[in-house]
Symmetry: C2
Subunit: 430 residues, 2 copies
Amino acid sequence: MEHHLDPRFLLALAAALVAAKLLGELSERLGQPAVLGELLAGVLLGPSVLGLVPLSGGIFLLAEIGVILLLFEVGLETDLRSFARLGASALTVAVVGVVTPFALGFLAVRIFSIGGGSTELALFMGAAMTATSVGITARVFADLRRLHTDEAKTIIGAAVIDDVLGLIILGVVAAVLGGDGEFSAGTLLIITAKAVGFLVVVVAVGHVLAPYFFRFVRFLKVEGSFVVGSFVFAIAVGLAAEHFAGLEPIVGAFAAGLVAGQTSFADRIEAELRPISFLFVPIFFLFIGSRVDVVALSDPQVLLAGGIISFLAIVGKLVAGLGVLSKGVSRRVVGVGMVPRGEVGLIFAALGAGELSAVVGAGENAIVVLMVVVTTLLAPLILNRMLRNEPLDDERAAEDRTVVSMGKILDSPVIGSAEQDASKRDATED
Amino acid sequence: MEHHLDPRFLLALAAALVAAKLLGELSERLGQPAVLGELLAGVLLGPSVLGLVPLSGGIFLLAEIGVILLLFEVGLETDLRSFARLGASALTVAVVGVVTPFALGFLAVRIFSIGGGSTELALFMGAAMTATSVGITARVFADLRRLHTDEAKTIIGAAVIDDVLGLIILGVVAAVLGGDGEFSAGTLLIITAKAVGFLVVVVAVGHVLAPYFFRFVRFLKVEGSFVVGSFVFAIAVGLAAEHFAGLEPIVGAFAAGLVAGQTSFADRIEAELRPISFLFVPIFFLFIGSRVDVVALSDPQVLLAGGIISFLAIVGKLVAGLGVLSKGVSRRVVGVGMVPRGEVGLIFAALGAGELSAVVGAGENAIVVLMVVVTTLLAPLILNRMLRNEPLDDERAAEDRTVVSMGKILDSPVIGSAEQDASKRDATED
């Protein structure tokens, strides 16, 4: 009865889940974060290696849901106050982490005449190098049970700020290169004000309204209202972020998580969404991995230029680590944590392959993809080495283990000396 | 950053979930099964009424996952022995429930000259009327907390047998009307043998191998392995059913559930999959509702013929209730429970709109859709009235409530007098 459904989608989904779990398991057994295995599963299953599985279409939609759920859970576990405490560091790290890679990328294209060395391409390459993947970093720290650290909090904060900065850069680049002409300091100010304003309004208004929403869905008699309500809450705020502020939905989902995390329903939301995340989140990382075009990378010219750009992309973010202002926060760890470009870098690659294809050739776009992949795969490996050599705070790590994991981060509800007690209290409540 | 994702899909998903839950809630508050509200939410959101939401594409894929999960859960709760005990009744009900509607539909097209009254159309209409929706019936009985009843078990069994019969009918109709020429008693025998053989092999081999599979996924260290493994198990057997036996994937998923339900992991599988079902299953019912083309039904000719066909479709399945052989099982309840055509009826409508459009005009196809909708919406209403007047076995109903619900059915692990004790034991274990 083949009129009813599309077996290729189900087959792709099943194969993707099996590959993600088996390579994730292998990765963990080798002492690496599971996310590394999921990314490699994507490379393997993707069109350029095995090509076994069509990873576009339906799988892409599930990946989309996955990354939204991931960021919602990250927000859920984030305490606004500890976020504020590390805000200055996060802001400096974000700004340095945008300016440095941009400058390095721009200069590299001009100096080494990459792809002809035009100013337009230099602008595009620089912009593509500014991205930070909050998704990858959050998962790596979660896999390593270090989500409670100030380093993790600083990186997540910087990555969110980076998304707002990325919005501005994307606006500038699209206006300059796309030749829409509509580009002025006033436009930029409006873009920024909308993005920042949206986040402030969501947190402020959400703080008041969210408890009513979750009380309402709990009050409904029909089964599954609570978990479906939580899911819809994350998606709705994500959509609003895109529609009203031009932000990525994942930033909206993160804000939704921040707000939901302040309510007394946080634990229940997290527990009920967990199995759903287990299903969707690996699909996202697998999808990212599948974007790697191994064939385009076989050109030695592309490979050389890609090597240079990747190296500079790593250096640029390591420099960002120097932006850390708070005492006792490792600049090295923060720098490495900012390195992965992940999903955000791929947005630039999609732009290069699409709207800006007049400026960005296939070879140059392959360079961007290589840079995204190298930074995304290297960061978990390096972080793993660095963090393994640091003493593990057993109690806090145990807490990471017991609570969620996948999207869990910034778990301490209060700052300073009360922090330790509060996290103990949380642990016993669970 | 609109290059990254498709907000329409997320918007459609959020709107669909909100509408399904709110109308489901309204339905329950009015004393009706929640599934009725979900179906109506689909009619409302679908293209012919509000048209607010594009319910094809991604939503269809989620609906597909939903019905597979639903049938897997139904299988999980089904005890093979009680299934066997009621097998003779189920077989008779299924056969009578196929022959009677077929005869009535065939004769109606010829006698009333519906759509010209050709023999081909008569064959098609008769065939379309033979379907039984196991999904709708299972949900209705679950919503009414009557999944433990022998009536529910008989209907589910008959619906599964009906799917095998439907396969044969579809093969005949496609061969006769599609004019492939490749049609013989031998072909039919092979189709039947493959379908029955597949189910027997899955249950026999699965009984041995399933415990190893679930022990393996439990043994994996990487998070979410168990729930993802269970999910993949359902999908994989569903795909195998389609690939190797030409069965619908939902029948394979049901068989997978039967097998998994025999293992000691049944409770854990059910608990971990529950939030995922809560998300996907309503999407399926909503999708079914959205297929209603209100505009095509505005033609009085179509409406009259549709009324006749719908009436006969109901009568045909009520007659099937007379096939009940076991004592103490209500023939009326079984008859009404067989009425909804749901997703299986829609497969015929899709065939009529596609491959067989030379034989089946737009008006005649609208008749089929009307018949599917009327039977699907009426059955929950009537069952609700009938079952409310019967005394509720509080203890068993309470068990239905505590365990799952959505896909829970046939919960008794042993037959006869031991049944009550065993279900008590299960309840305390939970």
